[in-house]
């Protein structure tokens, strides 16, 4: 067993290896595979307790959706003048969460950010689960989700004799989000194939072999396979990259193309994308800190990974803060009395508490990350990651509710209050999200083994002491 030897301790301090603990290829395979291979009774009790908790919250979601279908969408609190409320707030919130996964897997890949390898798999999985949660809201807002296929997609049918309004951003949204889900799922699955083959080859039972073998698609790790795989991965990364920008831009069009004061602004697309990446990274952070602790992944998800993510949170958080300021400036500078009123009303109207909640969580809190100590403090970043997501939820709520509750006609002003169904449904989506994530973390390799090995190999070549003859090469597992 060879340990990577670095010659220059100074260099080591500046640019520490991405994977700590002197892991070699076999260690990586063993460490990550063993999580998925543990027997049921070997899985720590805390895992089952966690799963039971999230599972019951998921059951709450099921109950709430059934209640909605049985009684109609009136069980949600949205009504004139706030026709869109928690449903679309939650939709935008969850879609935004997903963006970190795509950014990590696609953009950081194209920019050759090697530190992405430890976190991309779980971030991509998170993306999928977040998009599922997001999809629930528009789907059930139709009240009759089994008819939603031809309400949302242009499928010929004799029930409506009508097409969707293609000038409406709502149908652009349907295409944006479904494309996003498809590409993300493909990307995630493609990355999984070599790892599934590793698991297949290590599997002992026949059932496991067949199931894993089925999903490994006959992967043998030949040079030809790798060549195709890498080309395919690159293409998917190329397809996903514009999606990072386009999906949330289109989501922002839902608002920006309307004429409601506070919505009708050109700043929305970039501002929404920055906010999405901001909240997504915060969610990745929350999940990874928990997994790192529960599954002993400290050597794979190192402080450097976390610090890098905090830097992205700082950058995107600052962009979001800048966007808030710009919105306010333009509201004043435009001279438009409705726009001015809306922004004044946001900060000092009946929803002032939501506005200042958003400002505190999104603008002030990420600024702490200028401090390197705080950026590397795990308890601090854990709390901060939750604070950021609270702030980002409030951002969407503020944009949606405050613009709608007081628009042009004072006679139609109102105040939105969520019903218990609104609240329980939103909480329920966390049940879905966390249950899916727990199942994923337990039954699939949550760190991309083959990619991490790529990083290890790269570091070996770069830093191995001259004359050590690279003896570790023969230890490369058959699929790496």
């Amino acid at each position: 067993m060879s340990v990577v030897v670095r010659q220059d301790p100074q260099l080591l301090g500046v640019n520490p290896p991405l994977i700590q603990g002197g892991k070699d290829f076999r260690d990586v395979t063993n460490d990550i595979s063993s999580i998925t291979e543990a027997k049921v009774f070997e899985t720590p009790m805390k895992y089952w307790i966690a799963l039971a908790c999230t599972g019951s919250v998921l059951a709450l979601l099921g109950a709430m959706l059934a209640y909605l279908v049985a009684n109609g969408v009136g069980v949600w609190g949205n009504n004139r003048p706030v026709g869109w409320a928690w449903d679309i707030t939650n939709f935008v919130f969850w879609i935004g969460i997903g963006h970190a996964g795509t950014l990590i897997s696609a953009i950081l890949f194209l920019f050759r950010q090697k530190w992405r390898t430890s976190i991309n798999r779980s971030a991509e999985a998170m993306t999928l689960f977040a998009v599922m949660c997001a999809g629930i809201f528009p789907l059930f807002h139709t009240g009759r989700p089994w008819r939603a296929a031809y309400w949302l997609f242009p499928i010929p049918n004799t029930d409506l004799n009508m097409w969707q309004n293609f000038r409406s951003p709502l149908i652009w949204d349907v295409f944006a989000v479904s494309t996003y889900l498809t590409i993300s799922a493909l990307f995630w699955f493609t990355g999984l194939v070599p790892d599934l083959a590793t698991l297949r080859d290590r599997a002992t039972g026949k059932v496991k072999q067949v199931v894993l073998g089925f999903f490994a698609l006959g992967w043998r790790g030949s040079a030809k396979h790798w060549r195709n795989y890498e080309a395919g991965y690159m293409i998917l990364a190329g397809l996903s990259t514009p999606l990072v920008l386009s999906v949330h831009s289109v989501v922002s069009f839902d608002f920006a193309t309307s004429v409601i004061p506070g919505w009708h602004t050109t700043i929305f697309p970039p501002y929404f994308v920055a906010g999405a990446v901001f909240s997504g990274f915060a969610m990745v952070m929350t999940l990874l800190i928990i997994c790192r602790y529960l599954l002993n992944l400290d050597n794979y998800i190192t402080i450097k990974h976390l610090e890098n993510m905090n830097k992205i949170i700082l950058v995107t958080g600052s962009i979001v803060g800048y966007a808030y300021c710009t919105e306010f400036f333009i509201a004043w500078y435009s001279g438009n009395p409705y726009e001015r009123f809306t922004f004044f009303n946001r900060a000092f109207g009946p929803y002032w508490w939501a506005y200042w909640m958003m400002m505190t969580c999104n603008v002030i809190s990420p600024q702490f990350y200028w401090s390197k100590t705080l950026r590397r403090s795990i308890p601090f970043m854990f709390v901060m990651s939750i604070v950021v997501n609270i702030g980002m939820w409030f951002e969407r709520f503020v944009i949606i509710a405050t613009s709608l509750h007081r628009d042009f006609l004072p006679s139609s002003w109102g105040y939105f209050r969520p019903t218990w169904v609104d609240i329980s449904t939103f909480i329920g989506t966390f049940g879905l999200f966390l249950t899916m994530f727990l199942l994923f973390a337990r039954f699939l390799p949550m760190i991309a083994m083959s990619e991490v090995k790529g990083v290890l190999a790269h570091e070996k070549h770069a830093f191995a002491a001259p004359g050590t003859n690279q003896e570790s090469h023969e230890e490369a597992p058959k699929h790496a």
Partner: protein, 215 residues
């Protein structure tokens, strides 16, 4: 290590995939079709609490629809007549008929008869009877030949496509307003031509935008 899958696996996979895929698609299509209002709603004919025959009253006796459903030309909602309306005649006509037992009870106690609603639109649709009657859309267009039904049944799908079809091309279903309750009216000549003239006269413009019906 022995191979997990045999060589025929690829073929089996393709066949199973095709079968499952086609099964899923046809299952969804069947579900979608069988849950269409045209399929599940037409023919709805519940048994009413009182064996009231529209065929007798509106058909053979020739009573005007407006006599009982007296709000349709002035209100959005088609009123179901109160027991008093029934008793207006039946205190004189067959006052002791056993079939009218429930009607008499209702009259004495003030407890209304619980008629079942047959033509029931979803809550998010606003249908205005007055607008349609005023425009010259006959009862028969949506309710069928009620004057020939002993028990009323739903004859039209009442789904959105069906509404929208008429809103896009109303002329064949427009007649002189005085004739809307004449369910057996046969137009002389092309009904669309007659309709077109009335539409021009009354400047009718049925909405096809969402908020026309979904307010």
């Amino acid at each position: 290590m022995a191979a997990i899958f045999s060589k025929s696996s690829d073929l089996i996979l393709k066949v199973v995939g095709a079968v499952v895929g086609l099964g899923a698609v046809s299952g969804i299509a069947a579900f979608a079709y069988l849950s269409y209002p045209t399929v599940i709603d037409i023919g709805y004919q519940p048994e009413q609490p009182v064996a009231y025959s529209h065929k007798l009253h509106a058909g053979e006796l020739g009573m005007n629809c407006f006599y009982c459903h007296s709000t349709v030309y002035r209100g959005a909602f088609a009123a179901i007549p109160g027991t008093e309306t029934c008793m207006g005649c039946h205190s004189q006509v067959r006052p002791a008929s056993p079939r009218l037992e429930k009607v008499r009870n209702s009259y004495e106690t003030g407890e209304p008869i619980h008629w079942l609603k047959i033509h029931d639109l979803p809550d998010y649709v606003f249908f205005n009877h007055r607008a349609h009657i005023g425009a010259g859309v006959s009862c028969v267009t949506c309710h069928g030949r009620v004057d020939q039904m002993v028990e009323v049944r739903q004859e039209k799908p009442l789904n959105m496509a069906w509404c929208v079809d008429c809103h896009r091309n109303p002329a064949p279903n427009i007649r002189p307003a005085a004739l809307v309750t004449q369910l057996d009216w046969v137009p002389e000549g092309d009904p669309a031509e007659i309709g077109r003239k009335i539409i021009e006269e009354k400047k009718l413009n049925p909405p096809t935008n969402c908020s026309g019906c979904h307010r």
